[in-house]
C-alpha cells in the first residue's frame, strides 16, 4: 500500500511541475512539482529544494513564475537565509520586477481612488492589491501586474469618462463596433504611471458564457465592503463574493495555475467566511459547479481547508466532476503542442451542469480548429472603429444584460 500511495503522490507532483517548454525529465518534473506544491500547502519548501537535481533547481524560477507563486517561494527563501542561496539569487531579478510593478499599480490606484470616490460613483477593486494586502497579510508577497475595477453597468459610461478626463487614463480598447458586437465584459485602459487597468462592468467577460450564469454586478456592488489598503480605504467585494469570483475566474481560465488555488485557499482561511452564504449565493448565481470544482481542487492540490459538508453541498454533476478530476491527475496543464483536449480546456468549459459543460467543451474544440490558422494582425480591439452610436448602444446593452442576470437570480 505504501508503494501505491507514494506512486500517486509522485504522479501528482509531476503533473504540476510539467510547465510548458520544460526541458526536464519526468523525475525532475516531479521534483519541481514537489517544490511548488510545498509552497501552496505551507509545506517544507527547503526540504523539497534539497531533494532536487541541479536541472530541476534551474527550472524552479520559471515554473514558479508560470504558476504565479514566485513571491510565495521567494518569501520562503528570504525568511531562511542560507537555504538555497543560489536559487534565491536566481529569482531576485524577477521578484524585484514584481515589487516595482506592484508599487506602481498601488500608486496608480491611490491616485484614481481619490478622484473616483469624490465622484460618488460605485466602484470596487478585485484581485491584485486586495488579495495581496487583505489575504496574504503583506503587500509584498503576492504579485500582480494590473488593476481590476468593477463598476455598475449603469455608471460605466460616466466612470469611463471620469477615468479618461479626470484621472488621465488612456483607453486602449477603442474598437467600439467590436466592443458592442461582442458585448465585452471589460475594457482595457492605461493609467498615467503605466499600469494596465481592466474596467469591468461584469466579472464574466465572454457574452456566451455570461448568459449561462446569473452573477449581476449591481448586486455585487451593493454588498461591497471597505478595506484599509496602503492605497487608501478601498471598496472590494465581500468575503463570500470574493471567493465566488476567484473560483469563477480560476475555473473559466482553466484552473491550471497553483497561484489561483492559493488565492482561494487564503480567502477560505480568512476569518469570518460564511459558508452558508457562499453556498446560497453560488446556487442563486448558478456558480455551484464552478465553485465546487475549484474548492475541491484547491483542497486536493493546495490543502485548502474546505469543510466536508460544503463540498457535499456542491455535489451535483458527478460525471463532469469525475472528468475534471481525471484531467487534473493526468494533465492539468496544456502540453506544449496545445492539444485541444487538456486539463485547461476541460476545466475552462465548466458551466452549470454536465450537459452544458460538455457542450461548451465541444464548442471550444470546434472554435480552436476554426481559428488555428486565423491568428495574427494584432488585437482588433485596439483598432479604432465604430462610432459614438456604437458606444451608446453598448452602454444600453450592458445595463439590460446585467438586469437580465438579476432576473435569472430572482427566478432561480
Amino acid at each position: 500500500m505504501a508503494g501505491v500511495s507514494t506512486g500517486r503522490q509522485a504522479s501528482a507532483e509531476g503533473v504540476w511541475g510539467a510547465t510548458p517548454r520544460s526541458p526536464l525529465t519526468a523525475a525532475s518534473r516531479r521534483q519541481v512539482g514537489a517544490v511548488l506544491r510545498a509552497c501552496v500547502t505551507d509545506g517544507d519548501v527547503r526540504a523539497a529544494i534539497v531533494s532536487c537535481s541541479p536541472d530541476a533547481v534551474d527550472w524552479i524560477p520559471a515554473a514558479a513564475e508560470y504558476h504565479g507563486i514566485s513571491m510565495t517561494l521567494y518569501r520562503e527563501l528570504a525568511q531562511r537565509p542560507g537555504a538555497a542561496s543560489e536559487l534565491h539569487d536566481a529569482m531576485r531579478p524577477v521578484v524585484l520586477d514584481h515589487v516595482a510593478t506592484t508599487m506602481r499599480v498601488r500608486e496608480d490606484l491611490r491616485r484614481l481612488a481619490g478622484v473616483l470616490d469624490r465622484s460618488g460613483l460605485l466602484w470596487a477593486v478585485v484581485k491584485g492589491p486586495v488579495l495581496a494586502e487583505a489575504f496574504y497579510g503583506d503587500v509584498r508577497w503576492r504579485s500582480y501586474v494590473d488593476l481590476d475595477l468593477v463598476v455598475d453597468p449603469r455608471q460605466f459610461g460616466p466612470l469611463l469618462d471620469l477615468l479618461q478626463d479626470g484621472v488621465g487614463a488612456h483607453l486602449v480598447d477603442v474598437n467600439w463596433r467590436l466592443v458592442r458586437e461582442s458585448r465585452r465584459g471589460e475594457l482595457n485602459l492605461l493609467l498615467p504611471l503605466g499600469s494596465t487597468l481592466d474596467l469591468h462592468w461584469t466579472l464574466v467577460n465572454a457574452r456566451a458564457v455570461r448568459s449561462q450564469f446569473a452573477f449581476p454586478t449591481a448586486a455585487l456592488l451593493e454588498r461591497t465592503i471597505r478595506m484599509p489598503l496602503s492605497s487608501g480605504d478601498i471598496a472590494t467585494l465581500d468575503l463570500a463574493d470574493t471567493l465566488l469570483h476567484l473560483a469563477l475566474h480560476a475555473c473559466l481560465s482553466g484552473g491550471y495555475r497553483l497561484g489561483w488555488l492559493l488565492d482561494i485557499k487564503r480567502v477560505v482561511e480568512a476569518p469570518g467566511l460564511d459558508w452558508d452564504m457562499v453556498v446560497r449565493r453560488a446556487r442563486a448565481s448558478r456558480l455551484d459547479l464552478v465553485t465546487g470544482a475549484m474548492l475541491a481542487r484547491a483542497q486536493r492540490v493546495a490543502g485548502c481547508p474546505v469543510p466536508p459538508d460544503v463540498l457535499r453541498a456542491f455535489g451535483g454533476a458527478i460525471a463532469w466532476r469525475a472528468l475534471l478530476r481525471s484531467f487534473e491527475q493526468l494533465r492539468p496543464i496544456s502540453s506544449p503542442y496545445r492539444l485541444p483536449l487538456s486539463g485547461q480546456s476541460v476545466t475552462g468549459s465548466t458551466r452549470t451542469n454536465t450537459w452544458t459543460s460538455v457542450a461548451a467543451a465541444v464548442e471550444l474544440i470546434a472554435t480552436r480548429r476554426r481559428t488555428r490558422s486565423a491568428s495574427g494582425g494584432g488585437n482588433p480591439l485596439h483598432h479604432a472603429e465604430g462610432s459614438a452610436a456604437d458606444r451608446t448602444a453598448f452602454l444600453a446593452d450592458i445595463v439590460a444584460d446585467d438586469a437580465s442576470a438579476a432576473e435569472r437570480v430572482r427566478h432561480g
Binding site: V95, V99, A100, M103, V139
Partner: protein, 94 residues
Amino acid sequence: MDDVPQSADAAFVIPLTVLRQGVGEEVVLLNLQTEQYYSLDPVAARIVADLTRLPYDDAVASLHAEFEVDRARLEADIATLVDELLGTGLLQRR
C-alpha cells in the same frame, strides 16, 4: 524602511516621486518620473534611512556605531552612495 519617517532636520529627503518598498533584506526604490527602479542592499538601505531621518553628522555617527568601520572610509562610502542616488533622482538635498 517602508515606514521610516523622514525628518525636517535630515540632510536628505526622498522625493515624493520616488516610492520605496522593503523586500527581504533589500529596499526597492521606484522613480516614477524615470520609470526605473533600484534596489538597495541592507547596508545601503540603512544609510539612506539614517540620512533621511537625521542631520548629516548624527547620521554618520549612528552608522559609525552600527558598522564599526573606519570613519573616513565610512564617509567615503556614504559620499559614493549619495552621489549615485542624487544622480538617479532617488535622493535630494534639503
